[in-house]
């Protein structure tokens, strides 16, 4: 009832503020907010909306080795899903590629969530002073001072057949022959992706944790909750928005990634981005556009699904 009353009050306030607005006591002319938003809107329109529309339109065009022709055909989409619905037991290229990408998304999401949550928990609850929290937080960002290609490539001398890891393991007699699966493998790709993207999990989760009212945790303790119960009943529900934002970052980046998968997988592992790149290199823009649209749809559906799990607007 109390809550209902409060909502009523806030609605009344809103009504009042709208009324004030309508009386226009402000000196600012009505067009000013639009002008303020215009530069970004223009940038988005020119460099995001227009190219996206162009991509969508071109995905229905015809092409030859050296030209693309305006048309309205679905053959590019048919080619993207070539052999997918033929009923054969082998997966078609597109499904196999997305399945492989999905596998990486799932593994990398789980691992970055675990590491990201632990790191954020440590920073938020175990480090007592704010300066120390800030200092340690900066330490987390150090890897980001270099380009992600360099961070990726530096794994290669470490993991290679004659790399540091193999030589160390061999010299202490743990293995006789070098481990082949360290580099150019699913393992290498997962490792590099986790290394690159864990921070995207740490930041939003840390942010959510810092906003938790400490008296809630004290109350839980006073009420006799164990540490585990406090974690599952208080902390995790309250950092859900952070987890969700971090997950959106990680899932969308990994879905579209092809550089890491290319370099760490020795180009032997398929990714949608690589397929698109190959097609663009051979001037097959329409089918590349169709692939891009399909990828976009997959990412949008994923985000839509994730947003349904947590009402992010309410929590923020």
């Amino acid at each position: 009832m109390d809550a209902a009353a409060r909502t009523g009050a806030s609605n009344a306030e809103k009504g009042a503020s709208t009324a004030t607005r309508n009386r226009r006591t402000s000196w600012t002319p009505a067009w000013v907010p639009y002008a303020q938003a215009a530069p970004l809107a223009l940038v988005f329109f020119l460099f995001f909306v227009l190219p996206l529309v162009a991509t969508f339109v071109v995905s229905f065009w015809n092409y030859t080795e050296y030209s693309i022709e305006p048309a309205f055909v679905f053959s590019n989409y048919q080619d993207v899903f070539y052999g997918c619905f033929s009923g054969s037991s082998r997966l078609c290229t597109t499904f196999a590629t997305y399945l492989s990408t999905l596998k990486f998304v799932a593994i990398v999401w789980a691992v970055t969530l675990f590491i990201g949550f632990t790191v954020a928990y440590f920073l938020a609850f175990h480090v007592r002073t704010l300066p120390m929290q800030i200092a340690l937080f900066m330490v987390c960002t150090i890897p980001f001072w270099t380009s992600n290609v360099i961070r990726m490539i530096s794994w290669i001398p470490l993991l290679g057949r004659n790399g540091l890891v193999n030589e160390t393991l061999q010299s202490i007699g743990l293995i006789d022959a070098p481990l082949e699966w360290l580099l150019y493998s699913d393992f290498a790709v997962t490792l590099a992706l986790v290394h690159l993207y864990t921070l995207f999990m740490v930041v939003p989760i840390f942010n959510s944790m810092m906003r938790i009212d400490r008296s809630l945790i004290e109350a839980a303790y006073d009420a006799g909750a164990s540490g585990w119960q406090t974690l599952t009943n208080i902390i995790i529900p309250l950092v859900k928005p952070g987890i969700l934002i971090g997950s959106i970052f990680v899932v969308t980046i990994v879905t579209g990634d092809y550089l890491t998968i290319g370099i760490m997988g020795g180009q032997q592992i398929a990714s949608v981005g690589k397929v698109i790149q190959t097609q663009i290199n051979f001037l097959q823009f329409p089918i590349a556009a169709a692939n891009a649209i399909v990828l976009l749809a997959v990412v949008l559906v994923t985000i839509w699904g994730m947003l349904r799990l947590v009402d992010i607007r309410k929590e923020l």
Binding site: Y184, G266, Q267, T278, Q279, L283
Partner: protein, 427 residues
Amino acid sequence: MTILTETRGGVTRRSILKGSAALGGAALVTKVTGFPALAQEPVTLRYLSTAVNQSPAIAEKAGEDLGIKIEYIAVTTDDVAKRVITQPNSFDLVDTEYFALPKLLPSGNIMGLDAKKIKLADKIATVIRDGTVDGKKVGLDGTAPTEVLYLPDEEATEFASEPTDFLTLIPTTYNADTLGIRPDLIDGPVDSWAALLDPKFKGKAATLNIPSIGIMDAAMAIEARGDMKYADKGNMTRDEIDATIAALIEAKRNGQFRAFWTDFNESVNLMASGEVVIQSMWSPAVTAVRTQGIACKYQPLKEGYRAWASGFGLPIAIDDREKDAAYEFINWFLSGWAGAHLAKQGYYTAVLETTEQAMEPYEWAYWFEGKPAEKDIMSPDGKLLEKAGAVRDGGSYNERMGAVACWNAVMDENIYMIRKWNEFIAA
């Protein structure tokens, strides 16, 4: 990855002038180009090609000898073709591979070169002009230069079937590619393309992730293994593509390949680090591994070589002043110094006679005659390539180019091939 460097940023004086002329159309603005002071400024040629052909020394020497300013635009092999088709106004001279021509020519963006204006046109190597070396025919599978060299007229969009006075590209460099191996990490001899798919090298082989070249190397290996015989490896039927990709997928599932590469430097790293002991390789990559002091052999194989050739073409939209300069530059390029400069990196050149004149006799003997080096062989920038006594892998020009089995190609079924190649990568 697209690496794009333009020496003077994207905007040149020329493009500004052109832009303003087009914008205004006003006599006053267009007349600016007519000012004597500006007309005497050195003409700039925007030279589009891959980075391997773009030696700063050549640009510098051309500047001294001709007063022409060469402005390099370095992109990858695929991007050269892409740029010719999508941005034909962005360069004045293109150095591209002959195998791209069946794509480039129909676009109408490049024009034929008038052989009468090329002084040494009839001295261009026979392997390019008619597909012979020392009077003997070489393998012409794929897009052999001789098949795409001639045009009926300057602005033709189809090839001529017999020699004419209009040439599509004037050769800059060409070579015969084969497998590179690490002799120190391999037991026993390698003498056939079949070795690329030999389970003996399981997990230690690599091939290119450039479909048009990768599938040729695979076809050489599959044919050498005796699995099947191709009518024309450079122009496969759908059935042949299916069979080739199936064989590749099988090899991949069995763990034959350590990695694939698209960039020349990746192949150098794979080889130098010992991740790979046998792979498709390009000649300068072998040289690069060797200059690191690591044994690497460009192994001649009994089935022959996969050859490629690159050459100068002109964009159709070129202005007269730049066109004259381009002809002047091409004539200079064929006259010896530039050829010798490139030959010292292991490339073969368009006009062998002038290259020979511009090289030291011991260098010519090593690079072209297959004789042991009398003195240490240096790269153009003064690094030691080979010690005295070394012999070039594969021997003389006649032995190497004479043993060409096929040429880099774009197939009629290219679109289908790319689809199947993506299937191979996803498998």
